[in-house]
């Protein structure tokens, strides 16, 4: 069906354009911006007056919990949550059960996701079999099956020999490694940032250098192997500095941060709020401010949801025993907008952190609003407030410190491949 999106404020972060224009869609692609293509006859006109028309969001880390954790969430619920949040492409980490370490599993996941026909799902393959950190996976075959990168998810890989060899092997074929740096030994038993709040509440801490020591090891190996490494969900000021220096040095590295982490700090744990039990932990306000600034200046390439739906029972536990994670797909846009407004950034730059920039890391055709691009779009009202509540979240996970809070940015319509998949 041909769609005409009329009267919207069209923002394309890639080109930086931000203007009132109409958008024309045919056969799943954008065929006109501003002027209608010759002979265009709309099957549907969407009135986008008062709305921003932006590329669909690209999320570099969203757990869909399938296969293996269907009691926490399913593809169906989480992909519905994705499009309700304006997310049209997402990468899912391999920490399923079994982990995504075999081509057959990846194919099955992609097939199930395609049959739902909601957001595009890009699996990240396991770097090692069973994520056990010992034996490499069949990266070539996994790539053929659709993996966009390889990762250990949140599972440690203490054996640096294996990490070194994995980088060499990945570099041979030009595959990217997505790694969340954390020294397993330093983080052992830790559940919160090793700082004043953990000290006050008597929570075992994870020091900042658990992140940076692991990062420095990884950077040394990148220097030697030339492997492309994307650092996931950095949490510390020093980690950001390391990334900045590595980029200046010319190393093939990028980095992202989770949407919750650019807003919250250890202080938000309050009286043991288990919604603030996340990985990596919310760190000091100084770290948080460094993350915010680094995302604005481009040191950090992307903002991700780090979506981790957790069932309620697993959160109704003492802080240290509660399962870590926060639901994020439906908060990514509001939290990005909140950050952009607070940093006084132009809308196109704010949206770049959740569209064009992550799309480049993903290597997917996504995140741009231009003629010839797939018609993956998100139409939202930037001024309407959304109250985050258990009743309104589409995700099966209602776990976020923002429950009961109002955030800016209400998604009105999401299109994937020229098809309206969500209207709210």
């Amino acid at each position: 069906m041909k769609i005409h999106i009329a009267h919207g404020r069209v923002v394309d972060p890639k080109s930086g354009s931000d203007a009132k224009q109409d958008v024309f869609i045919e056969a799943g692609r954008i065929t006109g911006v501003g002027a209608a293509p010759a002979g265009f006859k709309a099957g549907r006109v969407i009135d986008a007056a008062g709305l921003v028309v932006a590329p669909g969001l690209v999320d570099l880390s969203a757990r869909l919990r399938e296969p293996g954790f269907e009691y926490k969430a399913t593809l169906e619920t989480e992909l519905a949550a994705a499009v309700a949040g304006g997310v049209t492409s997402l990468a899912c980490p391999p920490d399923t059960d079994p982990p995504l370490d075999e081509p057959g599993l990846v194919e099955m996941l992609r097939h199930s996701a395609r049959s739902l026909d909601l957001a595009h799902v890009h699996p990240v393959g396991a770097l090692t079999a069973q994520l056990a950190g010992k034996r490499l996976t069949e990266m070539v075959l996994l790539t053929e099956a659709g993996c966009v990168a390889f990762s250990q998810a949140d599972v440690a890989m203490p054996d640096t020999q294996v990490l070194w060899r994995a980088m060499q092997y990945a570099a041979t074929f030009g595959f990217a490694l997505w790694l969340r740096p954390q020294d397993e030994f330093l983080a052992r038993d830790g559940v919160a940032h090793d700082g004043e709040v953990a000290t006050r509440l008597g929570l075992p801490g994870i020091p900042s250098f658990a992140e940076t020591i692991a990062m420095e090891t990884m950077l040394a190996l990148v220097r030697d192997t030339g492997a492309r490494v994307h650092f996931q969900r950095l949490s510390t000021a020093r980690g950001v500095e390391l990334l900045r220096d590595a980029k200046a040095e010319g190393l093939p590295v990028t980095g992202d941060v989770s949407a919750h982490h650019v807003h919250l700090s250890e202080m938000d744990i309050g009286y043991f709020d288990s919604h603030c039990r996340v990985i990596p932990p919310f760190r000091s306000a100084r770290d948080r401010d460094a993350l915010r600034a680094a995302l604005a200046d481009g040191t950090l390439d992307a903002l991700c949801s780090d979506h981790a739906p957790v069932d309620e029972d697993a959160k109704l536990l003492p802080f240290a025993e509660a399962e870590p994670g926060a639901t994020g797909l439906e908060l990514l846009l509001p939290l990005a907008l909140k950050w952009g407004t607070e940093m006084k950034l132009p809308l196109a730059r704010t949206l770049g952190t959740v569209t064009d920039r992550p799309a480049r890391i993903l290597g997917a055709e996504a995140g741009q609003l231009a003629i010839g691009q797939p018609a993956d779009l998100c139409l939202f009202d930037p001024h309407a407030m959304v109250r985050i509540s258990a009743d309104t979240l589409k995700s099966q996970g209602r776990n976020t410190p923002y429950l009961g809070i109002e955030l800016p940015g209400r998604v009105r319509c999401t299109l994937v491949g020229g098809r309206v998949v969500y209207e709210g």
Binding site: E196, R200, G202, L203, F272, L317, P318, A320
Partner: protein, 317 residues
């Protein structure tokens, strides 16, 4: 954020931590405990204040000693006391913490005394029973977080022997990192206006940023004890005596054990406290533990009165 231990009228609904307790509430507890000390010295050591009330001792972590003091305190207030060692019952069957609480609430419990290995567990329970204003939660020690009745009995002891908190130097010595007793006492002392609170220990046993709690940090015990009015020795758990934090109990005793020579550095009338049970020859020398400056046994007596006071005040809200 509302203090979860106070009700809408600012009265004590639960005792979860000393942190954030108004000074008047602490004074009320200590004053009331003073009246109970008299009662525990009578032939009939009971008052009928909690008659007909059910106090559940929920010990998710074993501690015969603490459980016994709460049991005695509740019985002296004429309450019915039910002891549950949960680690040996429901938890093993997979029942969740809050399921257990729901079950016991349905049995018309009036008070839960909770000991749990995980910091914040009593807060979780208190939040869960919010709909039952007649239910009170007393934290009997959670993880490394807090042990408020121990902190209060330490305050009672200090006030008993030293009267004025605003002129005191108090040194807390040993494994502060893992100690809920230390955290509760430090919050209590700072709330009561104690100008000089010191923590003494090796860097491996002092938590990150401990000075932000309002204490001075010493690694050298001799320096830290100089001129102080009270010394609170912390218990060193067996499993921590050898490992990545400490090489051996002997070496710990050499640097941080309280001996008569080290005690001589404190004021001549300084008192020595210990939450018990003591490791003689590890954190404290027997000659000091049994010596004239030790108030370790009176602490135990005051502990009963303080727990009676806490329960009586909670039951009165």
């Amino acid at each position: 954020m509302r203090n979860p231990q106070l009700n809408a009228h600012g009265e004590l609904q639960h005792l979860l931590t000393i942190e954030g307790l108004p000074r008047e509430v602490i004074v009320h507890i200590l004053d009331t405990a003073g009246s109970f000390v008299g009662i525990t010295e009578r032939d009939v050591k009971k008052v009928p204040i909690l008659r007909g009330k059910s106090v559940f001792n929920l010990f998710f972590e074993n501690s015969t000693r603490t459980r016994t003091t709460f049991e005695i305190a509740a019985k002296r207030l004429s309450a019915d006391v039910i002891n549950l060692n949960i680690n040996t019952s429901s938890a093993a069957k997979g029942e969740s913490l809050l399921d257990t609480i729901d079950n016991l609430s349905a049995m018309h419990a009036d008070m839960f005394v909770v000991r749990h290995a995980s910091s914040g567990a009593p807060h979780l329970i208190a939040r869960h029973v919010e709909a039952h204003p007649h239910l009170h939660v007393v934290n009997a020690g959670d993880g490394r977080h807090a042990h408020p009745t121990q902190g209060l009995l330490d305050l009672y002891t200090l006030r008993h022997y030293k009267q004025d908190f605003t002129r005191l130097s108090v040194a807390v010595v040993g494994d502060v990192l893992h100690s809920r007793v230390a955290r509760s006492l430090i919050h209590g002392l700072t709330t009561m206006g104690t100008p000089d609170v010191r923590v003494i220990g090796p860097k491996t046993l002092l938590p990150e940023g401990v000075e932000k709690l309002g204490v001075r940090v010493f690694n050298d015990m001799n320096e830290g004890l100089r001129g102080c009015d009270a010394i609170v020795m912390l218990r060193l758990q067996n499993e921590r005596m050898k490992g990545p934090l400490l090489p051996s109990a002997q070496e710990f005793f050499k640097s941080y054990g309280l001996t008569a020579e080290k005690l001589a550095l404190a004021k001549p009338d300084a008192i020595v406290m210990h939450p018990g049970p003591m490791n003689r020859g590890v954190e404290i020398d027997s000659a000091v533990a049994d010596g004239p400056r030790s108030v370790i046994l009176p602490q135990v007596t005051f502990g009963i009165a303080v727990r009676m006071a806490v329960m009586a005040i909670l039951a009165g809200q």
